[in-house]
């Protein structure tokens, strides 16, 4: 890339060929006003606020879309430009209902800020007073078209980052409006995922989230804390706005992140709503059918007494949430595993994780990292969905897949026991009847791709297996197998998204990695696998609390300690195993039913917004969870509670060892060095 130099308002500004005038200006701290522009989205130059004058050019140019050229002399703030910008603003104000005094976003509005900055003390154009619809059909998101300035940020974020294309534009000129699903109401949309990205980018009061509309303007909030969403393995970065000690809204960080600064429907709503949930604020001890309040001392004494007894009888177990931070997991390990020598410690989604760990193990042993950062899906030209349902498991992954297919032109292959969750955009939808057929298909495909690659892609020369044979074993048509092969062989960089359900059979996981290796799915950080490992810090549990073999439910235990973050419901199997234990201690921030009903002792715990620490995300990064609001009342941090408990138990736990996922993202060899392995090896 060639370096270029521009003169902007007399300042010498360096840039790179291909930059726009706006990019060069911003990187050199020259301010140019913008309204429709939003970093990370395709610039469209529709609002004309960023107009600049370029020497020897009679026209004004939009800085956000005009490529910068070497030697350009640019003026950004002449009287002519200021006047022109003000006229644009006045036209916008005259066009629709932009009367600030009855708008929920007044004071939190980019249009208002811009007009005030341009000294707009009146509107010189006649108002149109055109009446548009206020679409209030959706439970959470409202679109008041009367406030719309047609900047199209919402349409762009919906298409470019979320990939649902729910929003688009209809009609022309003054009558143009944002439209949902070719004319449906938003509440009736079949494509909207309720992620709220459109409202996050809306510069005016057009698209608002009911829940946050009157809870405080962003500017009026006391603090904005950057943290991480604990709900799924993607671990999106979030900004939590705090006002008078409560969370006023939660937003994604910035659109220039790979995830587009979006939050999914889970993060957007679960996080702020959880701050309103009823808390367990003091320790409680069960007495018959109800709980009575107790002091920490009394509660922990009772816990220690029961624990010690059960521990001596080797009848104790510990179950902790995989939404715990690395630091919290370290504390559990140092007390229960290292201190007490317990083996019965696990996380709720242990079975899913063990499957992935076992399936990945032979490849990890080879010194390669068997998975890649989730956003690499965006770099792939062929996305293979292996029994995943990303919109349920990790919705931002679903966005990556949709954007990969619709924007980047990747093909989408579904290999699963159920039809593709991306029905309308799937190129090949291979649905096998049974999991056994599914693994045979993956295994067969790996063999065929390997053979085809070895023979230079000539199917005639493929000797070992034929498509017909694979089809027969998988219960599919030969045509289907040939189609999948075609997609895989045409792809330079396929990526495989592994659903959590697959991991129950480690052989399927290993077979999938084999297929990825055969296809040459190599990314700079690892093999092109994206395992949907359930929750925020599932990866962090791997070297810590995750048990080697499942034990839960195998034996009726005398004592069970359960640590839950109360954010995701516990699975049936865990709940039934917990309820089968004689004495149950539940430490949880919220009255999370039905879990809390099973407890003999309830201990308060800090909620996600009261804790800090780190998560290992499938984005390939350790991300920091920060304290948004300090804990109140009797809520105590885990470290201090476990310290007291260990004292009562008479053990001195050592300091937690290395960071739990310290070596998880490491690899000795490049992914291309990976070899396929025999599935028998995994099955044993």
């Amino acid at each position: 890339m060639k370096d270029i130099t521009l003169n902007i308002d007399g300042k010498i500004c360096k840039g790179t060929e291909g930059d726009t005038i706006l990019e060069v200006a911003r990187s050199n701290d020259v301010y140019i006003p913008t309204l429709c522009f939003l970093e990370g989205l395709t610039p469209i130059g529709s609002c004309r606020m960023c107009v600049v004058e370029v020497e020897n050019n009679p026209k004004m140019m939009t800085a956000c879309t005009t490529p910068a050229q070497d030697g350009m002399v640019v003026s950004t703030g002449t009287e002519k430009l200021r006047d022109y910008r003000r006229q644009m603003l006045e036209l916008i104000f005259a066009g629709r209902n932009h009367f600030c005094m009855y708008c929920s976003q007044s004071g939190d509005c980019e249009l208002q800020d811009m007009a005030i900055a341009h000294g707009m003390d009146r509107v010189r154009y006649p108002y149109l007073y055109a009446d548009f619809e206020n679409d209030a059909t959706h439970r959470d998101i409202q679109i008041d078209h009367n406030r719309c300035i047609l900047c199209l940020r919402c349409i762009r974020v919906c298409a470019e980052k979320v990939g649902t294309h729910t929003l688009d534009l209809q009609k022309r000129g003054w009558n143009a409006t944002i439209v949902t699903d070719l004319g449906r109401k938003l509440g009736e949309s079949s494509t909207c995922t309720t992620c709220g990205a459109c409202a996050q980018v809306c510069p005016t009061g057009t698209i608002t989230l009911r829940e946050f509309a009157y809870r405080g303007r962003r500017k009026d909030c006391d603090s904005v804390v950057e943290s991480v969403c604990p709900l799924c393995s993607v671990g999106c970065r979030i900004k939590a706005y705090v006002r008078t000690g409560s969370i006023a809204r939660v937003e994604g960080t910035a659109v220039n992140e790979p995830d587009g600064g979006q939050l999914c429907q889970k993060g957007r709503w679960t996080l702020p709503r959880s701050a309103e949930r009823e808390r367990i604020s003091v320790p409680m001890i069960r007495e018959g059918s109800h709980y009575r309040e107790a002091t920490w001392e009394e509660a922990l004494d009772l816990v220690a007494k029961q624990f010690r007894k059960a521990h001596e009888a080797d009848s104790d177990g510990v179950l902790v949430s995989s939404l715990c931070t690395d630091e919290e997991l370290g504390l559990f390990v140092s007390l229960f595993k290292d201190g007490l020598g317990m083996e019965r410690i696990d996380t709720f989604d242990g079975d899913v994780l063990r499957g992935f760990v076992k399936g990945f193990e032979p490849f990890r042993k080879q010194g390669v990292r068997p998975f890649t950062a989730a956003h690499k899906i965006l770099d792939s030209d062929c996305i293979v969905n292996l029994s995943a349902d990303p919109d349920e498991e990790a919705p931002v992954i679903a966005s990556y897949i949709r954007v990969g297919v619709l924007r980047n032109g990747a093909s989408l292959v579904n290999i699963s026991c159920s039809p593709s969750p991306f029905r309308d955009i799937t190129d090949v939808d291979a649905v096998t009847k049974t999991p056994a057929e599914n693994i045979r298909l993956i295994e067969g495909l790996a063999g065929m791709v390997e053979a085809l690659k070895a023979t230079g892609g000539d199917p005639e020369k493929t000797v070992q297996v034929t498509a017909a044979e694979v089809a027969e074993k998988a219960g599919l048509t030969e045509e289907m197998v040939v189609k999948i092969l075609g997609s895989l062989m045409d792809s330079k960089k396929p990526v495989f998204v592994l659903g959590g359900c697959l991991s129950r059979d480690p052989a399927t996981v290993a077979a999938s990695v084999n297929l990825a290796i055969a296809c040459g799915a190599f990314f700079d950080d690892g093999i092109g696998m994206v395992p949907l490992v359930v929750s925020g810090n599932s990866l962090g549990t791997i070297n810590t609390v995750l048990a080697d073999e499942p034990w839960l439910g195998k034996k009726k235990l005398d004592f069970m300690y359960v640590y839950s973050t109360g954010l995701v419901p516990e699975d049936e199997a865990s709940l039934s195993a917990i309820s089968g234990s004689r004495f149950v201690v539940v430490q949880c921030p919220f009255w999370a039913h039905p879990l809390v009903n099973l407890a003999d002792v309830l201990l308060p715990a800090p909620a996600w917004f009261e804790r800090s620490g780190h998560y290992c995300t499938i984005e390939g990064e350790r991300r920091r969870l920060s304290v948004v609001i300090p804990p109140k009342g009797e809520v105590r941090g885990l470290a201090s509670v476990l310290k007291d408990l260990s004292k009562d138990l008479g053990v001195t736990p050592e300091k937690p060892k290395e960071a739990p996922c310290g070596n998880l993202f490491a690899s000795e060899k490049p992914p291309a060095a990976a070899r396929m392995v025999s599935l028998e090896e995994v099955r044993d």
Binding site: N97, F99, M101, G119, Y129
Partner: protein, 179 residues
């Protein structure tokens, strides 16, 4: 030196702008050493006398308000539009998105707090609604625009001080607000 004569009128608006004017608090004493309020909702006056500065608070929603605005323009040298209603039309413009009859029906018949079984809409002996509520400068020329709902007391005072210095002020961005 004689005091500068100021007239203020409250048209289609809430009392917010005049309240905001009173929010200049004790500084009003000093201001009143320099100006004389000759006509205003807060003084007694039946007719608009000649004045140097005429302040109009509120939009024009009926023919009486339009008439008063014209009277102000005739009697005053400098017209100041105070507040969002006078400058942009403000909240009164809510009725502009439907027609006049609709607004009358809503106000006199349909609103939940109204008891009017005969559905009578008064039309005689009261000012007639204009087809639309309009900003002041749709009807008369305005010299100074002070947007805000209401404008800050400090901004209102600043505008008077500038006028007393003989300047026609333009509210700068840092003193401007719309809500």
């Amino acid at each position: 030196m004689s005091k500068v004569k100021v007239a203020t009128v409250w048209l289609e608006a809430c009392a917010g702008c005049h309240m905001s004017f009173l929010d200049i608090d004790e500084r009003i004493v000093e201001l009143l050493e320099k100006i004389e309020i000759v006509y205003s909702p807060i003084v007694d006056g039946k007719k608009i006398p000649k004045a140097t500065v005429g302040v109009i608070d509120g939009a024009l929603g009926n023919d009486e308000e339009a008439h008063l605005a014209k009277e102000m323009r005739k009697q005053c040298d400098i017209i100041v539009a105070w507040g969002d209603c006078a400058v942009f039309g403000g909240i009164n413009c809510m009725r502009n998105f439907s027609d006049r009859e609709c607004a009358l029906k809503e106000a006199y018949v349909d609103s939940p707090s109204t008891v009017n079984p005969e559905g009578v809409i008064p039309r005689e002996d009261i000012p007639h609604l204009l087809p639309k509520a309009i900003p002041v400068d749709y009807e008369v020329d305005v010299d100074v625009y002070v947007p805000g709902c209401p404008p800050d007391a400090d901004t209102i005072l600043w505008v008077f001080q500038e006028l007393l210095e003989g300047r026609i002020p333009k509210v700068p961005s840092e003193k401007m607000r719309y809500d």
